[in-house]
């Protein structure tokens, strides 16, 4: 499949249909996100690993695609996107964090091995050009186990796991949908400075609630956690609740806005 993908991307560049392709590149055996601007460079294009394509640059809080678009207007960009990458693109576009104008998604469906490894709820983009849509669910067995727990057990479960937190902000930093200039997870009102672990469960729940209508289930938060907190489970349960209550799944339909957008927000005006 990789050879066909490279050939397709080379055609897109050689035919001058696109100016650049964004995807994962092989760099000394490691896989890193990069832009390919010439046909020859595309020999290094790879499809592998859990390395996410879409991420927020810091301290500018701008995602990598918007950063490039901001520098070159009218850029025609191809993005080799898996399901999770495409969902992040759709959500960021809805939230005006990047533009899909001039963007051509080269969709790649993940194979069974990768879908299982990633415990992916939808291991394919909307219209995969390569690979086949695996319609069965590869969902996390942790979700089913969690649903069987009673309230007391759930409380103890989260007290144990969230109590391991070293407040590295890796989950926030790794999240493609976290771009707020003023992060609520840094606000003294919710998160006491210098206190470890952070107050249970506020720190993680602020993140979860803020992502309730954005989380695209890519798993970057959990992969980034040095303390092995099952953050994916937290987000998956939240996504499930939003799906059940609002019939809405972030990242799936690029034209449908958040159901929360119509709900009046009551922001606190107290000082920190």
């Amino acid at each position: 499949m990789i050879e066909e993908l490279r050939a397709h991307c080379k055609e897109l560049l050689a035919g001058k249909r696109l100016d650049s392709i964004y995807g994962l590149g092989d760099q000394g055996g490691a896989h890193v996100p990069r832009f390919f601007s010439t046909v020859d460079e595309l020999d290094d294009l790879v499809l592998a690993g859990k390395q996410r394509l879409i991420f927020t640059c810091r301290p500018s809080d701008q995602n990598i695609i918007a950063l490039v678009q901001g520098q070159r207007s009218g850029l025609r960009l191809g993005i080799v996107a898996r399901g999770c990458d495409e969902r992040a693109l759709f959500e960021l576009a809805k939230l005006s964090q990047l533009s899909l104008d001039g963007v051509e998604v080269v969709g790649v469906a993940c194979d069974r091995t990768q879908a299982e490894e990633c415990r992916c709820s939808q291991p394919y983009p909307q219209d995969p050009r390569f690979g086949e849509k695996l319609e069965e669910t590869f969902d996390d067995p942790a979700v089913a186990r969690f649903r069987k727990m009673g309230a007391e057990e759930r409380l103890a479960f989260w007290e144990h796991h969230l109590g391991k937190c070293i407040k590295c902000y890796g989950c926030r930093n790794a999240c493609p949908l976290c771009f707020c200039k003023e992060c609520q997870m840094e606000r003294e009102l919710f998160v006491r400075r210098g206190a470890l672990p952070p107050d249970f469960p506020l720190f993680h729940f602020v993140h979860m609630m803020h992502l309730a209508d954005r989380c695209v289930d890519c798993g970057a938060c959990e992969d980034a956690c040095p303390m092995d907190i099952p953050l994916r489970l937290l987000k998956k349960v939240m996504r499930g609740a939003v799906r059940d209550l609002f019939n809405y799944e972030p990242g799936i339909d690029p034209t449908r806005g958040s159901p929360f957008a119509g709900i009046a927000r009551v922001e606190t005006t107290h000082g920190d």
Partner: protein, 131 residues
């Protein structure tokens, strides 16, 4: 549109987590954990996640400072090293201590303890991880 991921090792502690510096048109724009790094396996702590920020920080020292008349003033490396050498020579061994660093290589740490023990004649040598 040159965007590069430059592999580096986190400069903060002795663990040596792997990270990629995101460089866009010659500007540092962010840090990403290195997924395939054997020590850190795609994780970073809060310091590593911000490892790009001190590079261009306006608070970063770019020259040694010497306190003159109660005020820290910019000085050359030559002046600074000479002043330190002069003060070390004048002090008795028991009044001298050296704090080495987990950021240094093994070889640099070895040289530091050698300098303190063999040259200055003191046993007062420790490292930043105990501070």
């Amino acid at each position: 549109m040159a965007t590069e991921s430059v592999f580096s090792v986190c400069p903060y502690c002795g663990t040596g987590c792997g990270l990629y510096l995101q460089v866009h048109d010659g500007q540092l724009v962010g840090v990403r954990p290195a997924q395939s790094h054997p020590a850190s396996q795609g994780k970073l702590c809060i310091k590593g996640w911000h490892a790009n920020e001190f590079v261009t920080s306006k608070d970063r020292l770019t020259t040694p400072l010497i306190r003159r008349n109660g005020k820290l003033q910019p000085a050359s490396w030559k002046e600074a090293v000479e002043l330190v050498a002069q003060k070390l020579k004048a002090a008795s061994p028991d009044h001298v201590a050296a704090l080495s660093s987990a950021k240094c290589t093994n070889e640099e740490n070895y040289l530091m303890q050698k300098l303190v023990r063999a040259v200055l004649g003191s046993n007062n040598v420790d490292h930043c991880a105990r501070l």
